[in-house]
Symmetry: C2
Subunit: 131 residues, 2 copies
Amino acid sequence: MEATEHDKRKCPSHLSTGECNKQLLPVKDALDILSGKWKLQIILSLTFGKKRFRQIQREIPGLTPKMLSKELKELEINELAVRHVYDTLPVTIEYELTPYGRTLKPLIAELHKWGTKHRKRIIAGSRKKSG
Amino acid sequence: MEATEHDKRKCPSHLSTGECNKQLLPVKDALDILSGKWKLQIILSLTFGKKRFRQIQREIPGLTPKMLSKELKELEINELAVRHVYDTLPVTIEYELTPYGRTLKPLIAELHKWGTKHRKRIIAGSRKKSG
DNA sequence: TATACCGGTATACAAAAGGAAAGCGATATA
DNA sequence: TATATCGCTTTCCTTTTGTATACCGGTATA
C-alpha cells in the first residue's frame, strides 16, 4: 500500500505541476528577502533604532560600504526600511525599519525556533556518529 | 526624543554585538536549508510520496542530475530525507522525506504567508508608482 | 596645508552557485 | 550489435555573489 507503485503520483490530484510551483513563488520571495550574507545582521541592527550608514557599518565587522549600500537599497525597494535625509549641513542620513519591516519579526522568530532545534539535533547527531 | 542622539545604541543593553550575532546563527541555518534554487521544489515533490531519482528530475523541468544529486545529499545530511536502497536487480533507489523533514511544514507555511502578503503589497505598490 | 569623517560610488578581482554536456557500469530490449 | 533506462559523477563554463581598494565632493578640525 505504500511501496513503489506510485510512479505517476506527484502533486495532489487537484494541482498541476505548474500550480505547485506557483505556490512556491511567495515562499521564495520571503526567502530571498532574508537571504544574502548581511541582510539579517542589518535588519537586526535596525530593530534597535534608527542608524546612520557608517554606524551600521561599524557595528557589523567585515561589512563593506558597497555591500551595505546594496543591501539597504534592497530593503528600501521592499519597503522594509526607509532612508531619511535631514536638512543639516552636511546632510544627515538615517535608516529606519518601517512598521512593515517589523512584520518580519514573527517570521524570523519561526526561523529561529526551527533553526535552534536543528542545531541541537545535528550537533547531537555528529557527536553520536563517532561515539 | 527620537532623533540623532542615540549614537551608541545598538543592541539591548543585556546583549553584546557578539551575542546578537550568535542569536542569528540558527536563523541562518534554517535559511540555508531552504535556500538554493531547487530545494523547495524537491522538498515539495517528496511531500507527495517516495520518489526515485529520475522521477524527481522528470517532475522538475530544468533540474540537472548534478544539482539534484547535490541537493538530495544536503537533505540527507540534515536528516530531512532518507535514501532507501532496495535489493533488486538492478538496485532500486528511493528518496523519502523523514518525519523530521516534515517538521519544516509550518515554517514553510509561515514563509508562504508572509510572502503572499508581500507579493500583493509590492505588486500593488509598483502599479501605483506609475498611476 | 593635512587629516579625518560623512555617504556613498567605481573598478577589479575571487569565490561560490549553477548550467551543459558527456560519460560510466550495470541491466534490459530489439 | 545498437539502443535505452537507472543513478549518478566529472569536466568545463557562465553567472551571481561577495571582497578589496580606491576614490569622490563636501565639511570639520588642527
